[in-house]
Amino acid sequence: MSEQAESGARTIEIEFPYTSATGHAVGVFLTAFRDEKKILGLKCPQCGRVVVPAQDYCELCAADMSQWVEVGQEGTVVTWTVVRRDHVLYPHPAPFAYAMVRLDGADTCLLHTVLARDYDAIQPGARVRAVWKDERTGHIRDLDHFAPIEEQPS
């Protein structure tokens, strides 16, 4: 028997299938993803910030938020990290980038992914545009990724 045969390394996969409630704000936010390919935020009545993704309370003021605002399909990369190794849990094959994207009209960043041809060319302030899936289920990944605007065919 080889040493490798005796090592006996085993692969075990543990799965956690969760079903949870979205809550009100996230439910409305994801419904707009699915039905309209729109990105909605909520405007804080106290500090005036437009918060994306939507949440029921302003995390700075703790104020109730109920004023819905549609924000842009385009935005600005505030910060990012490039993933260069594959992992089963990642939403895209490597390479891809996780990025904080501040959408036009929003005051907060949406954490999502950017697919680009050249990851070394991503700069702070890079302009990106939402790319939607054709089949949408009411999930954050209905928005498949953001793509650099200059790389898209016009």
């Binding site: 028997m1 799965e15 979205t22 849990l89």
Partner: protein, 168 residues
């Protein structure tokens, strides 16, 4: 807006894929299961119990172990539990019984599924035997033995079971 219902539910499927090294002792045990289809234990240098699966130390004495002792693929039900609750990914029809089985020649127990017996008919002291799978062996008893089933032999009396220290 479409006429579909609003989104109210999130489905998240988290997966944790592990690759584990079983360590030298467990690897030797698993290799013997895979290559020979046999179950081995080892012996505590202090209390002389035969520990199955083998371990580097006795869990009761904390003493070193020694030797390499073949035990049988049949034995006695030391204790058991009955699963009556359905859960995600369940492969076995409920109710079913999971038992700790002390192989003949051993003092330690292995845990496995009991079949060919109604769950409510399982008893402590019941004699059972392994039913090995027909497929390629992997070295894992959980995979290579499909289940244990009653042999029909007389039960081990509870007093004897307790006298052997299996009531622990």
């Amino acid at each position: 807006m479409s006429e579909t219902e609003p989104v109210t539910i999130l489905q998240r499927h988290l997966r944790l894929p592990y690759t584990l090294s079983p360590g030298a002792m467990q690897a030797k045990f698993m290799t013997a299961v895979r290559e020979e289809g046999k179950i081995y234990g080892n012996r505590c240098t202090q209390c002389r119990r035969v520990i199955v699966p083998p371990d580097i130390a006795c869990a009761l004495c904390w003493a070193d172990t020694e030797g390499w002792v073949e035990v049988a693929d049949r034995g006695v039900v030391k204790t058991f539990t009955i699963m009556r609750v359905p859960f995600y990914g369940q492969q076995i029809e409920i109710p079913y019984c999971i038992a700790q089985i002390v192989p003949d020649g051993a003092d330690g127990a292995i845990m496995h599924l009991l079949q060919e017996v109604a769950a409510e008919d399982v008893r402590i002291g019941m004699r059972v035997e392994a039913v090995w799978g027909a497929g390629t062996r992997t070295g894992s008893l959980a995979d290579d033995i499909e289940y244990f089933r009653p042999t029909g032999e007389p039960d081990m009396p509870i007093d004897e079971l307790i006298a052997r220290g299996w009531g622990l």
